[in-house]
Amino acid sequence: MASLIYNIGKKEILSGEIDLTNDTIKCAMVTSSYTPNKDTHEHFDDIDNEVVGSPYVAGGSELANKAFNADNTNDRGEFDADDVTWAVATLTARAAIIYKDTGTPATSTLIAYVDFGDDYSTTGEDFTIEWDSEGVLYLGE
């Protein structure tokens, strides 16, 4: 399943209901058993098969040091953040879910599904998602 931006996420970024600068944007992880649906999956309570493992906490981790860039070479606006690491982790993950966390899953809007392309496992080692050097996601032409 390729990476995607949920339709509700596109809408709420445009409407300003999602404020990437000021809202709490989190990165959760799911196993390969989760099948994203960009039409019907709107909030975090639509997500199933979230990763279970140590020290991963349900709901994932907040994206730190969010940054924005107007990329005039590629004609797009980019959203970036620090890589996410779960230290000394024992878990298996297939994809990340980027979402706006309100503290309530039923109102926490989904933004993006980020496919790793394969299952990644660690056993007592750091688990890191290394974002693309260009960022996490972009709006472009």
């Binding site: 993950a93 392309g117 990644y120 056993t123 290394e130 974002w131 260009e134 032409e141």
Partner: protein, 272 residues
């Protein structure tokens, strides 16, 4: 060829060797290698590789430390080589930990017959065990993936090329744990038997990988970078575009004309 990504539990060091000169950073641990006599670079399997010039006695090194010391434990190195020549005499060192006679620990080198020799030393010199990949298996100008390992439980020393089957020899000795310098591309405190050629994506494990894990590192000849151990997703695209509006200019004018016409007609009727 089945592939399984190994865990990093037993990984001690991973030198990507992407730097163009100077210190080569250990992407995993803390075994950064100092540059001796200016090792430059070229490309090989993943980005840049270190390019050792034999005539200039170039090598990369670090002082003895617990991470790179072995004694009688399982351990393993993998590396990518592309020799620029095969030695006419003596040997060209690939990986070595050892000083002069009496302080040698382990060495891997290319012989004059174009084979990869892997040696461990007991008590620094006396009593050593050698396993050899066979004459003509290392060829100047040809890229090769090398795996060398010591299996403490089985007391065996093994070498494999391009993720093929291992050539193995039983070992009557166990590796010496001394205090000698560790080098890539040479040996000893004063650089001896320097290597001539490229070296890339070199790693050291305190453990032995399975064949499927070795296959993953080999990656059908394309190799792996350290970043392949964790997800590195591409940036996600969201297209933003203007939806073409419908412009009402014609209708507005028509309505205005019609309104003017109706007003004029009404006035005319009233006048009549």
């Amino acid at each position: 060829m089945a592939e399984v990504r190994p865990g990093k539990t037993n990984l001690e060091a991973w030198w990507e060797l992407n730097e163009e000169s100077g210190t080569r950073v250990d992407a995993h641990g803390s075994n950064d290698l100092a540059d001796n006599n200016t090792v430059l670079y070229d490309t090989l399997v993943k980005g840049n590789a270190a390019d050792f010039e034999k005539g200039n006695s170039e090598s990369l090194s670090i002082a003895d430390n617990a991470s790179l010391s072995v004694a009688d434990v399982d351990f393993m190195f993998t590396t990518w080589l592309k020799p620029e020549s095969i030695p006419g005499a003596d040997q060209d060192m690939i990986i070595a930990k050892g000083g002069g006679v009496g302080t040698r620990e382990y060495q891997a080198y290319i012989t004059t017959t174009g084979s990869l020799a892997w040696v461990i030393y007991s008590s620094g010199e006396a009593g050593n065990t050698v396993v050899n990949s066979g004459a003509g298996t290392i060829i100047a100008g040809t890229k090769v993936f090398v795996v060398i390992k010591y299996d403490a439980g089985a007391s065996e020393l093994s070498v494999s090329l391009d993720a093929g089957s291992f050539t193995t020899a039983g070992s009557a000795v166990t590796p010496y744990d001394g205090s000698s310098i560790f080098r890539l591309g040479g040996r000893y405190a004063a650089i001896d038997s320097p290597y001539d050629g490229l070296m890339d994506e070199t790693n050291f494990w305190k453990g032995i990988l399975t064949q499927d894990e070795i296959n993953w590192l080999y990656n059908s000849g394309d190799g792996r970078a350290y970043s392949d151990f964790h997800p590195t997703p591409s940036i996600i695209a969201g297209v933003i575009a203007v939806i073409d509006p419908e412009i009402g200019t014609y209708d507005t004018r028509f309505k205005m004309r019609a309104r003017k016409r109706d007003t004029a007609l009404t006035a005319r009727v009233r006048n009549e």
